[in-house]
């Protein structure tokens, strides 16, 4: 198993290197150091100020190839910094990127953790519920509601939620964030509700399929024959045996709790890492953007490997070779 994990890490490392190269190429295909300087200094900044900014932020080296000093290129610097976790300072405001990460991870987690936990509980409970009542009108109504819910774009939930719940019904603030305990819940309810609405349909459908498949197994019939009640069959036997697909989804999702939700955070003005990524894109802030993409890809790889390891823990029959 250790060999397997090491091999997966090696593949993952190669993937991360590729992502970094891809990001670098995409960014500098779209923006030049002059663009970045102009965005940071404003449209009216005269050419000498632009040049000075580029020198001060060390973007004056060639992109890919420096005949005088092959080590002095932006690409080499990009890899050196990312792989040594030396994230440097933001191009937009010169704040240490690590400081911005520290500041942003808290708000991101306060949004994504309740959303994740509630989403998981709610969708598993609902899936078990509709699976229990499968082939009745409850199940069919469930299908209709879920398919409808998953067909709608999250943007519509956001704008609709803000309009209906915050603006018309006035239950919660339209957007904003305040970490003080007295008011923090007020700001979180609506984005969490919107996030749930946008994700539960797909999740419930998925888990329901898993559960229904399990309920057709022999052991379920045996349990029933032995006089086991519906609740015990579903919550005890079926749920446990359906663990593998659940774990796959859950473990893969956990790392992304830290990177936050781009759309929810932006529209609800939550100062997390997701909205920070959007701001970095708007500001041509390469230093911040690349860290977010780098961490995202590292998290993804780690999540995948962790999922594989968890399989063996959940099901002794699975072996990693």
């Amino acid at each position: 198993m250790i060999a397997y994990v090491l091999r997966r890490f090696a593949y993952g490392g190669a993937t991360v290197l590729g992502v970094l190269a891809f990001l670098f190429a995409l960014f500098f295909l779209y923006a030049t150091p002059e663009d970045m300087a102009r965005r940071a200094l404003g449209d009216k900044a005269p050419p000498p100020a632009i040049e000075q900014w580029i020198v001060n932020h060390e973007y004056h080296h060639p992109l890919f190839w420096n005949p005088e000093n092959p080590g002095q290129t932006l690409l080499v610097d990009h890899y050196r910094r990312m792989l040594s976790f030396d994230f440097g300072r933001s191009d937009a405001d010169d704040v240490l990127v690590t400081k911005r990460l520290r500041e942003g991870v808290g708000p991101s987690l306060t949004l994504t953790m309740p959303l994740f936990a509630l989403g998981l509980l709610l969708s598993i409970a609902l899936a078990l519920f509709v699976a229990t009542f499968r082939e009745t009108y409850i199940d069919r109504a469930g299908v209709a509601v879920c398919v409808l819910a998953m067909s709608v774009s999250i943007l519509l939930y956001i704008i609709g939620g803000q309009f209906l719940i915050a603006r018309t019904l006035k239950w919660f603030p339209i957007s904003g964030f305040d970490p003080s305990p007295a008011v923090i819940a007020r700001f979180l309810v609506l984005p969490v509700l919107v996030g749930l609405a946008a994700s539960f349909g797909e999740q419930v459908r998925f888990y329901r399929t898993v559960f229904v498949e399990e309920t057709n197994r022999d052991y379920v019939r045996t349990a029933r024959a032995k006089g086991c009640g519906d609740g015990r069959v579903m919550w005890h036997h079926v749920l446990r045996n359906a663990m593998i697909p659940i774990i796959t989804r859950v473990v893969l999702a956990i790392p992304f709790l830290f990177t936050g939700s781009i759309l929810l955070e932006s529209f609800f003005a939550i100062p997390g890492l997701g909205s920070m990524t959007v701001e970095a894109i708007h500001a041509n802030d390469f230093a911040t953007l690349r860290v977010m993409v780098f961490l995202g890809s590292v998290f993804f790889i780690v999540g995948q490997i962790a999922t594989d390891v968890c399989y063996t823990l959940a099901d002794p029959r699975v072996r990693l070779e």
Binding site: D35, K44, P271
Partner: protein, 672 residues
């Protein structure tokens, strides 16, 4: 089953009982705090030498005191003394140089800050000195600071030399860069033209006359900076960096700087206006002047006239990345004033005034032209449209100018928020009146066609090719919306038979095209740094031609007579003589048509009924000190506007139970 239903009901009831859409702590409801949103991006920097965007200036304008300020009500804008005792007069030193001497007010001090312990152990503040203003100017010259306005101050004797010396010394001796910043500046010998005569006196020696210098002392770039703050806030050992930490010298101080959520400003008790209200200093007192229009707009309320500033206890600036949620919060009463977003414009404004719904809410609308100008420019270096074509090209430019309907353009693309332009000088700036009634800035297609024929392009046909004359139109935006706008001009010109092709690029590529000179016509804009006609007319000064010196004159207009008049006008004070020269300059532009002036954008600001003294300012200048809020009225309105509607929660809960329960019951009955 019934237990579960009861539990759900309890959760719903308790959530509803706790819920409120108020984004602020309830305890703040009665405080004299102004709520304002920051749009698009949070401030980038608090470093006054660098901050150059509207959102930066929203904060820096409130916390930094400037040597000079603007009168709040007067238009055209008028300078008044700030931290300086008086507005200085430029003197001739007799040796070709000129001097401007500032004298600071007595007893000015910085806000408390731990950085001052660097200068004197245990100190938490110190007086504001003339040397601190010199230090601020040296920072602008410092290449490592990267100030966007460094070129502005190059007329100070020794300014560029200091910059060069500093750069050279740092390159030679890398250890120098590690030394304390004031030591570095001392080692580089300082700026020759900055003479600190006493704690309160600073003389600035200029190599040439520079009347516009005073305007730069009304901007935060030149605010005094204590060297201790720059040295202390270096980002090491958990300390902030200087661009994230400000030592206040203005009416407000920062008490919380979570710029991605909220920036809290509170009264700065160390500000001279608060410590010495008896001085009745002009920038620390509500003005007593103002016009009838100001009176009608409620800006001359006797309870404020001549009273010491600021009226507010604080300002809360919240960051709103998206415009729609921010504007909706304004409509709920959670912001005190707001720009009007495109999406809601028709709900707010009807026929130039507010809709009845807005009037019923007690809102006010203020309109003020921005000191800015959008124009189409011709590249005067181009053989077809430029100066080498002589009279032929001139008539072509005149004809193209006559084809464009600014009124229609503003109506179609800016909801009528703009004023058609007749000259490069927008309203509110001295000399604007001289430009009115430009015969080539109205639509006259008949005359245009006639001019075009005289230019040798009958019905727009180029005799050389036998096809319609083809011209290129370079623009800086690539969005579909912008394309539509530019298409308007192309269609206008097509009506007189000219075929113009748009080439769009992003702002940088656009700048690059201008630098290379490969363009015929272009669309561009300019927002004033300071309210002086020089700041607009310099855009057509030959010395600044893009092709010649890389300057801001993108039209490459270079007319000897205009240049000479410009130099005379630049160094004059506002008065009839200056106006006469401006008239002559505008007359040249009227005929030569290097620009087709399109429009001056108008700022529409919607303010709540409880906000007092709001006057739109155009330039991004500090105004929080003049504003006030009627907090009890606001609290009342907020409650009335935001009563939660609870019944849909009940309907929803009952509906879910009603749909699900029968199925459950039937299912179990069948099972049994």
């Amino acid at each position: 089953m019934w237990k579960a239903a009861a539990a759900v009901s309890i959760i719903i009831v308790s959530t509803l009982a706790a819920c409120s859409n108020n984004p602020y702590p309830d305890a703040d409801a009665d405080k004299k705090i102004l709520y304002r949103k920051m749009r698009k991006s949070p401030p980038k920097t608090l470093d006054p030498a660098v901050a150059y965007s509207v959102v930066d200036h929203l904060v820096t304008g409130a916390i930094y005191g400037t040597l000079l300020d603007y009168d709040y009500l007067d238009r055209p804008f008028r300078l008044i003394p700030g931290l300086a005792e008086a507005i200085p007069v430029e003197l001739d030193n007799g040796d070709g140089t000129r001097s401007v001497s500032f004298r600071l007010r007595p007893d000015l001090i910085y806000d408390d800050d731990p950085c001052f312990a660097l200068g004197a152990p245990g100190a938490s503040s110190r007086p504001i000195l003339a040397a601190d203003v010199a230090f601020a100017l040296m920072r602008i010259a410092d290449p490592d600071v990267g100030s966007p306005v460094a070129t502005v101050f190059s007329r100070i004797v020794g300014f560029e030399a200091f910059s060069e010396r500093l750069r050279a010394m740092r390159e030679e001796d890398p250890l120098l860069a590690g030394e304390r910043i004031d030591e570095q500046y001392r080692a580089a010998g300082g700026i020759e033209g900055l003479r600190v005569h006493s704690d309160r006196d600073l003389e600035i020696v200029l190599s040439d006359t520079f009347p516009q210098l005073l305007y730069w002392f009304a901007m935060e770039f030149t605010t005094p900076i204590p060297w201790e703050a720059v040295a202390y806030y270096d980002g090491e050992e958990g300390r902030d960096i200087f661009s994230e930490h400000a030592v206040a010298t203005g009416p407000f101080r920062i008490t919380r700087y979570a710029k991605r959520t909220r920036i809290s400003l509170r009264r700065n008790e160390s500000w001279y206006g608060i410590r010495h209200p008896e001085w009745k200093a002009p920038a620390a007192t509500y003005p007593t002047g103002g016009t009838e229009a100001d009176r009608a707009a409620g800006l001359l309320d006797p309870q404020y006239l001549g009273k010491p500033l600021p009226f507010l206890d604080g300002v809360e600036l919240s960051f709103e990345a998206e415009s729609i949620p921010g504007f909706n919060k304004f409509l709920q009463g959670y912001y005190d004033y707001s720009e009007i977003i495109e999406e809601s414009f028709d709900q707010i404004v009807a026929e130039g005034g507010l809709t009845p719904e807005m009037i019923a809410m007690g809102m006010y609308l203020s309109k003020e032209p921005d000191p800015a100008m959008y124009y189409i420019g011709f590249n005067m270096d181009d053989p077809v449209v430029g100066r080498s074509g002589g009279d032929r090209s001139r008539k072509l430019r005149q004809a193209m100018s006559l084809a464009i309907d600014s009124d229609e353009f503003i109506r179609l693309f800016f909801n009528d928020r703009g004023i058609p332009a007749y000259s490069p000088i927008p309203p509110g700036i001295f000399g604007h009146e001289a430009g009115l009634g430009n015969p080539f800035r109205k639509v006259d297609l008949k005359r245009a066609r006639q001019l075009l024929a005289e230019a040798g392009y009958p019905r727009g046909i180029d005799p050389e090719t036998g096809k319609p004359l083809e011209l290129g139109f370079t623009t800086a935006h690539t969005t579909a919306r912008a394309q539509l706008r530019y298409q308007f001009f192309v269609d206008s010109w097509r009506r007189i038979g000219i075929d113009v092709e748009i080439s769009s690029s992003n702002y940088n590529q656009f700048q690059d095209v201008l630098r290379r000179g490969a363009y015929q016509t272009f669309f561009f804009g300019w927002g004033a740094d300071y309210p002086d006609p020089e700041n607009f007319l310099f855009l057509l000064w030959g010395e600044l031609a893009k092709s010649k010196s890389g300057g801001s004159n993108s039209a490459n207009f270079d007319d000897p007579q205009y240049n000479e008049l410009f130099l005379r006008m630049r160094n004059m004070r506002n008065g009839p003589e200056r106006l006469a020269i401006i008239e002559q300059m505008l007359e040249i532009l009227r005929l030569e048509r290097p620009w087709i002036e399109i429009f001056v954008p108008e700022k529409y600001v919607l303010s709540q009924g409880w906000l007092r003294n709001y006057k739109s300012f155009g330039m991004s200048l500090p105004m929080f000190r003049y504003l006030d809020v009627d907090a009890p009225a606001r609290a009342e309105k907020r409650l009335a506007w935001n009563e939660p509607v609870e019944w849909p929660a009940w309907v929803l809960a009952i509906a879910v139970i009603a749909i699900v329960a029968p199925g459950v019951v039937t299912f179990f009955r069948e099972r049994q």
